[in-house]
Amino acid sequence: MHPAFSVIFLTTLIGAGQGLFLALFTVESYAAFGLLPPQASGFYAIGSAMAVLLMALGLVASFFHLGRPERAWRAAAQWRTSWLSREVIVLPAFTGAAFLYGVAHWSGVNPVLATLPSGTPVNITAMLGVAGTVLAFALYICTGMIYACLKFLREWHTPLTVINYILLGGASGFTLAAALAGHFAPEVMPVLAGWALIITLLGLVGRTASLFRNARLKPKSTLQTAIGIKHPKIVQKTMGLMGGSFNTREFFHGRSAAWLRGVKWLFLLAAFAVPAGLLAVGLSRSAGSALTLAFVIQYLGLMAERWFFFAQANHPQNLYYQSVA
């Protein structure tokens, strides 16, 4: 496939936004059960604002993918069958929950709604946080399933696709939360950086697993099944056009195998190895700047990862477009 920068920005930005929200609510949950000191509402408000900003930027990026962005509202219609339609609904729902969560913290209007049997108070922010967490996971699943549900794009048609969207988005979001905590709430920084390190390493495991899986895929469709002629030696002489078409532009990345290998190693380093090292440094020395650097490098690495994700998928229609004459 030809990687589109609109979709690369969309998936990496909203992945980090969701992860950031999950990290914020993790801190609040820890604090509610007395595992962390309670934080000033400013930390949550700034974090939520950043999460909402990331979601909005992702949404803006997604419009660049549409030929007719003025009709985008129609995309919510087919939620019964289309994962893309479901994403279009869940994305604003999650963003709204994150926005209200931030507003509740920022305004200080946060009454206790109920009390758990253990005596833990349940605030409005806790309710919004649970709703946002559910929506964040739903959005990860929608995003991943958009790709995983296409069964003949076999590089994507695996549960690992969804798992990796959760892990990679979570890793970048927790790293960003740790960097924010380094500036605004140093006492929760170690917990966030610790989780960021764990999720980054889990992401490395998940992504490596999918790399190994995809390297062993044998194509199900061949030129023989594509044109229905059972002969071992078939060569395309012409695709019926000379100046290219949508089929030659949309489904080929147009880069060499060496370039692809280079991008693979680049993202393995930039999305996982280097941020993991910087997170460890940030953890041991309480260095906020190391965490900020970790997020920037991890985000760029995840953009390379997403480019590779699209480029690696080999569409069976490419069998029909092999030769110009």
Partner: protein, 243 residues
């Protein structure tokens, strides 16, 4: 239930591209607006087409065959492009099984083209909506045309009658008989899309003529030794008459 489809005979197709040009001609003047080209007279002309003819070489020299392969939307009975569409612009008609795009609802997200294993959909770079073969839905129901004209433009154009059009769910239709009797098959059966369009395979055409078919061994004239006059070796009437 009706399922309209094309049946394309690869044994007959000569790769002349008449179906491609006639398809473009009919549909670019259609109600849905033009099928726009970019750079049509430049170095790399490109544009939207519903139908393409590709050419494959099968076998190893000198034992090769050239196969011309017309390719358009197959109007799958289980179309993977339809459920993924977020707006409902991509749909399959219940009454005749034609898969269509509502150009007024399409947002141009290209997701349906990703979901089609055959590469049958092409985005229109000017209108920014997805386009594909309509089986000439604006022709085949046009009551102002004669029955002969009420067929897809590609079928009308084919000089060798390699393209048949009809209802594959009607067992007595021309297309059903052709599929049944000539071994019609579907493309990429491994994905369970059940394409409605079928292809008829190449066939070896051999004419076997035995000696006794040219000159009957049991010719009664031969048996009673009374051979026709003048004999076979004699000059014929044209040679002996001079008036």
């Amino acid at each position: 239930m009706t399922q309209l489809a094309l049946v394309i005979d690869l044994n007959v197709c000569v790769g002349c591209h008449a179906c491609v040009t006639n398809c473009k001609e009919w549909n670019t003047f259609g109600a849905a607006g033009p099928m726009v080209d970019q750079n049509p007279y430049g170095k790399d002309p490109t544009g939207t087409f519903f139908n393409r003819v590709q050419t494959f070489e099968v076998g190893e020299f000198p034992n090769t065959e050239t196969v011309h392969f017309p390719k358009s939307c197959l109007h799958c009975e289980e179309p993977p492009c339809v459920p993924v569409c977020p707006t409902g612009a991509s749909y399959k008609r219940k009454e005749d099984g034609i898969v269509l795009v509502d150009y007024d609802k399409c947002i141009g997200c290209k997701y349906c083209s990703w979901a089609c294993p055959y590469g049958a959909r092409e985005i229109d770079e000017q209108q920014k909506v997805m386009k594909k073969c309509t089986l000439c839905v604006d022709r085949i129901y046009d009551a102002t045309m004669t029955a002969e004209e009420r067929r897809p433009a590609c079928v009308r154009a084919c000089p060798t009658s390699a393209r048949l059009f009809g209802d594959i769910h009607d067992p007595d239709s021309e297309v059903s008989q052709a599929i049944r009797e000539a071994g019609g098959y579907q493309l990429m059966p491994e994905w369970g899309t059940s394409p409605a369009n079928h292809y008829l395979p190449r066939r070896k055409t051999k004419l076997r003529i035995r000696e006794d078919e040219l000159e009957r061994a049991d010719n009664p004239l031969k048996i009673d030794q009374q051979l026709p006059k003048p004999g076979k070796a004699e000059p014929s009437l044209d040679d002996v008459t001079s008036w």
